[in-house]
Symmetry: C2
Subunit: 188 residues, 2 copies
DNA sequence: TCATTGACTGATTGACCAATCAGTAGTATG
DNA sequence: CATACTACTGATTGGTCAATCAGTCAATGA
């Protein structure tokens, strides 16, 4: 699916990749659309779960925020998971069941970002009078940057993306860039 | 194309919509891919030109910045031009000639945003030590928010999007939200 | 031991659609 | 007037692919 794209992956391709017959695919999934929907749902669910585990873990608010930002950003060039979501956006424009999954995923991200910020405000680490708004802006920025990163290999490095994420997040919660954990962020 | 999507629009659909025969489409465009590419190129070019006209116009740096932000954001629900680009992103992942067009368009946006910010710094209106970085962040955020706006009707209002854009831009160039022109931005 | 069921195969079918092609009509050129 | 050229039509073709279907095989259980 990552190789060929949601639309132009044939049922026969999936059959080949999984070493089963085309018939078996249709034995388990009534239509190709069903298969795609279930795949997206399952991917989204495990992403949300991983995310929840991160924020449930130990650490200060800055550490948690940084971990969330890092989880957002693709681990490397070879981490192609985002290709799936860019594909899904295009499908989601027309198909409501896909759109629903996307909405849930995005809402989860925003809600969790918002929670992390609120917790930091409560503990006195952060200053922010609109955690939800900040979460929406950070989420939006990361979505946009990831598209750029995914599409235009070499035009935006991972470390520069992380730098951007930290600069923006720092501004949103009233920190300085240097307040973030030590991993070096490439200079602008 | 906006109705059915880049991938599932048939040549016959275009023929019907333009009141010509299918044959004529192939008389002018060797393949469907050619047609799509030329369409994207042409749309991108006129978008870039409009953008250049805006920044070449009169006004203070804040006014120009605000005009650029407003041009970015879809005019209304019925302004579906962004659907095209979300579609194109998905295609661009696999097809280089589409990717090239997308890269050019995005670079143009970033360059112009960066120029407007630099001009504002030069005139003393703005404070910003990394105009290019700021432009990348603002561009990214708008891309991401627009996807959300385009996909999830009703989940994010246009005025809230404009609010987000202004808050983020204000922070990037050292202004307060109230420094932007008067059109009311919805409360958070 | 025989019937039933669930997992699975691979060939087939039928719909769909980009691209082709033979042919028509109108216009310009010498 | 004849030739040539451009714009155009609509029927046809050939390839692609989701979905179906008849049938195999192994495990379960009465």
């Amino acid at each position: 699916m990552l190789e060929r794209g949601l639309a132009s992956t044939r049922v026969a391709d999936i059959a080949k990749a999984t070493n089963v017959s085309g018939g078996l695919i249709h034995y388990h999934f009534a239509t190709k659309d069903d298969l795609i929907t279930e795949m997206l749902r399952s991917t989204s669910d495990s992403e949300i779960q991983r995310l929840k585990e991160i924020v449930a873990g130990p650490g200060t608010a800055v550490q948690l925020l940084d971990r969330v930002l890092r989880f957002y950003i693709p681990a490397s060039r070879s981490d192609q998971s985002w290709i799936l979501w860019v594909d899904a956006w295009a499908v989601g424009v027309r198909e409501e069941h896909v759109r629903t999954i996307l909405l849930e995923l995005e809402d989860a991200w925003i809600e969790i970002l918002s929670q992390v910020i609120s917790a930091g405000v409560a503990s006195g680490e952060f200053t922010c009078d609109d955690p939800l708004g900040s979460a929406e802006r950070i989420d939006g920025m990361l979505d946009g940057l990831v598209v750029r990163y995914t599409l235009h290999t070499g035009n935006l490095s991972r470390s520069r993306m992380l730098h951007h994420a930290r600069v923006a997040a720092a501004r949103e919660v009233g920190l300085r860039l240097s307040d973030f954990p030590d991993e070096p962020a490439e200079a602008p």
